[in-house]
């Protein structure tokens, strides 16, 4: 019997405290479970007794890991372990290094003029050659990109030719058979759809591939030179 108002303060008696912990823990978990079911919520309870015993509750439709995962995503609270923080630091350093390298690339070229005071003719020639190679690389990449453009246009040409052939074929069929494609509505519609579908798939097969190809080529360039 709960005789008298319960005071919310630490239960000094070790045994009573332990018993109350056990009872109230069950009560808490029960409440949590009811909340889960009644309100379609996900609840995670992690608790440690004064003697550091672990007890946990987790809603049946999820896992503690999931909840914690979500928790760190949603909240701004830093729940990471030291390990993770170290990784964050590593990531930060790598990003900084990358930034520095990019800055170097940007500024190395202009600085050539300032730094190369004592280059003799031989070294100059080899440097020239190497720079030419570099230019070639850039040029080739660009050529590849433009080549893709041409390829795409050519493919488009090809497809247009196909359409033309179909149109001509259409005309020919009508010329041969005046009833072709006319009266029967039911069957007609199906064939129309069928044709449209094929047509559509055809396009899907050709253009996106090339578009993607061109895009990935330029992506590579962007990645290497600009990123």
């Amino acid at each position: 019997m709960a005789r008298g108002k319960i005071q919310i303060k630490r239960i000094e008696n070790q045994t009573n405290r332990q018993v109350t912990y056990s009872k109230r823990r069950n009560g808490l978990f029960k409440k949590a479970h009811e909340l889960t079911v009644l309100c379609d919520a996900r609840v995670s309870i992690i608790m440690f007794s004064s003697s550091n015993k672990l007890h946990e509750f987790i809603s049946p439709n999820t896992t503690t890991k999931e909840i914690i995962d979500l928790y760190q995503t949603v909240s701004d609270v830093d729940v990471w372990s030291a390990h993770y923080e170290r990784m964050q630091e590593t990531k930060r350093k790598l990003l900084e290094t990358n930034r520095n390298l990019r800055t170097q690339i940007k500024y190395l070229f202009p600085r050539l003029g300032e730094c190369l005071d004592e280059l003799d003719i031989q070294e100059l020639r080899s440097l020239e050659e190497e720079m030419e190679n570099t230019f070639k690389l850039v040029r080739e990449r660009k050529f590849k990109s433009l080549g893709n453009q041409i390829e795409t246009t050519k493919k488009k040409n090809k497809s247009q030719q196909d359409i033309q052939k179909n149109l001509i074929h259409e005309l020919e069929l009508r010329a041969e058979d005046p009833h072709y494609g006319l009266v029967d509505n039911g069957g007609d519609y199906d064939s129309v759809l069928g044709y449209q579908l094929r047509f559509h798939q055809n396009h899907h097969h050709h253009y996106p591939n090339h578009a993607l190809h061109a895009a990935s080529a330029s992506d590579i360039i962007t990645f290497h030179l600009l990123e």
Copy 2:
């Protein structure tokens, strides 16, 4: 008033569910707080409502991070693995980018380190200028050449489109006038052809744009390298 036994099953009424969630959440947190104080325990509650709103309770004498850290230590659940793996992947990618950038620098200026001290500023400047001019020339010539190719293909495209239009016009005329050349086809195929044409033009509008976009991206790269 709690009229009748409460059924522990999902409250279908959206409003009631929300209200109950709010009330019971407070109740749960209150219980958790009482448990904390009465039994000298540490409690962490993380919960998400059905609308994915986050609510949490944490005992005053600790932090959620501490509880989760302890939880992972005591239980065998590796709470961090997913994030750890994500971080590893990020790190791997950054390192790769890093490598690429370094390679780039080495490739672009392989002899820079060797020649740095012996370069003549005059020679270098003229060299630089010359190389820039040369590269510009090549680039322009190449671009012009490729541009011609594209133009030619586009013209071919255009003329093919004209032919197509004529063919379609042909079909339309026959559709409108049964006595024109052939027989009435009921109009069904006209719409089909109309659709095909629109469809095709649609493609015309989209993919070449992407290709051009890719090309201009590589132009930007060239610009950066030369500047």
